[in-house]
Structures are given as C-alpha cells and as structure tokens.
Subunit: 324 residues, 2 copies
C-alpha cells in the first residue's frame, strides 16, 4: 500500500503516521490486509519522518496543483486527507479557508478521478457542519446548517467526497470528528482550542484562559480514539456505508464545568486553580453553534469506539505525554 | 433596480421576465418597492426581449468569467441565478454539471463579494438535494443526501450562497423548487421531464412515453406559483430567513397515476390513452431518490403559496397556453 497523509506534520497526521508504522498494514478494497510500503507525509511545514525508511516527507502547499500531481500517482492506494485551515483561522481568512478546506479537496478528488485507480480517500470533517437551532441529540438525519466558514467549506467538501464516491471516481469515507481533547502541544487557531488548553496548560503548571462559559456543552473525542477511527474508517468495506459515506464518529458529551471537575479529580484543585474564564464572544458564538452530542448508533454499528469518561481522557493524555 | 436573470432564455427565466416587466418593481434591501430600470437576460441561447426597452439580452456562457464581470456591476441590485444543467444531463456530463451548477454559482458569489455592494441573489435549488432513505414527509431539519450529480452540486452551491450571505458578501435566498409541472414547450434533459410530458403531449394530441411507474410519488409546483415564489423570495426581508437562507417551497404531492387521473377528468380518456408506460431505470432511480412531499410550515409562514390540486395545475397550463 502506498499511503498519502495530507496535513502529515499536524498533530493527527503525526499520530496517525506513528500508528500506521506500528501496525504496518491497511486493508485494500477487497478487505485484504496489505503491508504499507510507502507513507508520504505532505504539509506546509516539514513533518517528522520517525526515522523510518517507509516514510517520505514532502514539504509544500497542496493548494499547488503541480505538487498534488506529484503526491498522488496510480500506485497511491490510500489518502488520509487531513490538511485543513481550522475554524477561527478560516473565519479570519475567508479565502484561505475556502481554498484549503474546499478547493484542495476538490482538486484531490479530480486528480484521483483522472488517474482512474479508485483510491480510498479518508476525509476528516467536523461538528462545525452543524449549526443553527439543533435538537439536543443530533441524528444522522439532521440537516446541516453551518454557522462558520470552516463548517460551510467542510460541508461542501463532504458532498463532493460523497458524490465522487457515488460516481465511482474514488472510494471515499467522510469521518466527522468531535472536538479532539486533550491535544498535546500549543494552542492553535481552532475556536475549540480551549477544549485542550484548559486541561493541558494547567497540567504543565501553566495558566489557561478559557474563552467560553463553564455551562457550554461540548462533544469530545480523545486522540487515541480519533486515530483508531481514521484507520477503521479506511479499512471498512465500502458497502458498509450504504447511501452515504459520511459517519458521525462517537464522542463524549460534557460541559466545560464537568471537564474542569474531572481535571480536579485527576490532578487536584491547585491544577484547576490555574484556569480563568474570560469568554470571547467570537469564539463562543462559533463553538456554541456546534452540537453538544450526536447519535452514535450508526458509528457503533460500524465498529467505532467511544471514550468512557473525561477522567480517562485526561489520564490517557498524561500516559501519552509520559511515553514521548 | 438593475436585475440580472441567468438562464434568462429558459422557461422559468422567460416567465419571470414577463412577470417582472408586468409588475415593474421589486423590493430593495430596505423593503422599499423600486422600479425595475434594467433587466439583463443572460443565457447561452438568445433570450426573447419582449420588445421592452428595459430588457437587455446577452448571449454567452456565464462560465466565462469575463462575461460574468460584464453582467454584474455595482448597479446590479438583484440577481435571479436560474442557469443550470438539469439532472439527467448533469448525470451524463459530470464536468459540465459541476461547472455550471456549482462553479458558476461560486464565481457569481465571488464577483459580487469583490464588488462589495451586497446584491440580492435568488438561487434556485431542487428536490434533488435530498435522497437516500427519507421520511414520508421531509422536514426543513432533514439531512441532505443527494443521489445525483445535479443534486450534489446544487447542495454544495446552496451552502455557498448561505455562507456568503452569513458573511455579508451577498443577500442570498435559496429556493428549493419542487418539480415544475406543467412546463410548456418540448421535453428537456431533466429526469423529471415526464412530469410535464405526460400531460402536455397528450393535450396537444401527441403520444407520450412515461419513463417512471404510475405508483411513483412526485412533489409538484405549477409555473405560476414558481414565479410568484421567485419574486416573493427576492422581496422578503433578509431577517425573515433566520439562520438559514434556504426555503423548501410549497408543493403538491401526487402519484403519477393521480396525475393521469386528473388529466382524464380535465381532458377525457382519449387524451389519457396517448400515454404509455415504459419505465427507464436510469430516470426512475434519480426521480425516486427525491422526496414525494416535504413540510410546508416554514414556506407558508414566509408567505409562499401552494397549488390546490393537480386538476387546477392542468387547467392553468391550458389557460397559459391559450394566452400565448
């Protein structure tokens, strides 16, 4: 298998690469596990190659069509298309967001179509495709109504992945991810950045300013479950998806206050005291337009796993950090 | 008001023009009725100018960016974007469908954004954005799952009109039209062409082959109500739309067998005997993926009107034909 990971230098891209190298194989279109011979990591910043000869790092902008042509050839069996402009950045730079989140996805699909070799394309989407008045529990049958430029571009791109799959141009799979928590590293330009920051920074002895109110309900997924989800989403037979290639991955519904309480249980009240609340309406308006929970029936039937509680999500973050 | 109608030579474009010339005014963004000074009709084929000095006919392909730049300037207050590649044609020519149904819409929105004058943009969408397993009555909150290239491109374009409106780049309104019946003229490349053909051809003494089974349920709107809907959709204040600019226009839910029975009541059994049924799976698969009915609560609250029954839709067709 020759695998391309766009956004390969990003947090999820690097975690996925690490896991794929460890597993060493992916399922082809006939459901047969085949060794991963090559793993191409493409990103605007240079990705870590883990010192593994299977990894090829390509640094460049995939909005550049010529580069896209080099990244995907007739041997490319699998594409994890993770490259994206995150929510607050897409809101601030409308053109950049639409170009990367929609146009690059379209170009990737068109390129695969021209090659005609029907690769698997795993595309990550988001809670942000939902918005407006929503039921307490969002269903697979609930209409999208994105209230951010990020969500709108992701929603339009989802339609294209689905349609290019229906037409037999690619074998696409769209995985809608809950907000990932706890992310390692530094805050990013996602409106949901607080959902990791309020845990991560206090655990490392730093202060954290939470940009949303404690009452806000969020829908979370741990990095481990997210990576498992990406790999399962790739390996599932196309027929399992039915008339839609889009899956709402399982999540955990918690309020910010409950996240903070879990942090107290895991790490003590001194850690919690490093959090201050200074709601930012620009951030809160985006985040509160997202669902606080969605129905997991379909995802669970497809085999996707769920995190049991937020305490364990904090603990796995600490384990993962200790292992690094 | 300077008004642009794309697809201005088409059936709806011509009907709309005729009606706009008769009314003579449209509401501006402040809800004030203002005279229509100029009506630009753009299409790949040359539109009828009705001998009216307000009408300017432009023949050309709006996929040509230079032409789009000529059609829309800072004086353009209103755009009815009706130009489209219909369903069976978009299924047969994927690139053409995506270019006209999605890319042209995007270019039009981008052009308006650059001009910065926030025109009203009325965009027509379709039952075809729905698909897959559907409830008997589709709700505004029902997820889209298009099963045709036409529906997928329209759904993606809807998202863009909504998002460009949310960002304040245009004042967009997306009107999802039921299948229009009874259309005058000749059969077209829409999968729904039968929904007019089985009435129109027999009424004119010609035979008609129906490409779907009599049991199929369709969701219909008369040309008169469609034109009224386009004008109301333009004139409504932006605030009335809430968090979504998309409206499912009212329709009438009938089976093909009920349409034929209505034809018998209006025009007699000899007329009905000119219809033969030869289902075409390619057509039926597209049409049966569309909803047979959707909830009209929102549309009615916004003031959109409904046809009372199919008999009257046949009679208004005969009246309109007699008037020509």
């Amino acid at each position: 298998m020759k695998v391309l990971v766009t956004g390969g230098a990003g947090f999820l891209g690097q975690r996925l690469t690490h896991q794929l190298l460890a597993i060493g194989h992916l399922c082809d279109r006939n459901g047969v596990a085949r060794p991963i011979d090559q793993l191409v990591l493409a990103d605007v910043v240079t990705a870590n190659d883990f010192g593994d000869p299977r990894v090829h790092v390509v640094t460049g902008d995939i909005a550049d069509r010529a580069l896209l042509g080099q990244l995907i050839d007739a041997d490319t069996t699998s594409i994890f298309h993770l490259a994206a402009i995150v929510s607050s950045q897409a809101e601030a730079d409308f053109d950049l967001g639409l170009r990367v989140n929609l146009d690059v996805t379209r170009q990737l699909l068109e390129h695969c179509r021209r090659l005609g070799h029907l690769p698997k394309v795993v595309f990550t989407s988001s809670v942000a495709v939902y918005g407006g008045p929503l039921p307490e529990l969002v269903l697979d049958s609930t209409a999208l109504n994105p209230q951010s430029s990020y969500g709108a571009a992701k929603a339009a791109a989802e339609l294209l992945v689905n349609e290019f799959s229906r037409r037999g141009f690619v074998d696409g799979r769209v995985l809608r991810l809950p907000t990932i928590s706890v992310r390692p590293g530094k805050p990013n330009k996602a409106a949901s950045s607080f959902a990791s920051g309020i845990i991560r920074e206090p655990l490392h002895g730093e202060t954290s300013v939470c940009a949303v109110t404690p009452q806000l309900r969020v829908w979370l997924l741990s990095p481990r479950r997210a990576i498992e989800g990406l790999i399962l989403g790739h390996n599932l037979p196309a027929a399992n998806f039915g008339t839609s290639r889009i899956v709402n991955l399982p999540g955990l519904s918690v309020t910010v206050a409950e996240m903070v309480a879990a942090l107290g249980r895991v790490a003590g009240q001194e850690t919690v005291s490093r959090i201050t609340f200074t709601p930012d309406p620009a951030v809160e308006n985006i985040v509160k337009s997202w669902p606080g929970a969605w129905d997991m029936t379909r995802a669970k039937a497809l085999g996707f796993q769920v995190d049991p509680d937020f305490d364990s999500m904090i603990r796995t973050y600490l384990e993962d950090e200790a292992a690094r």
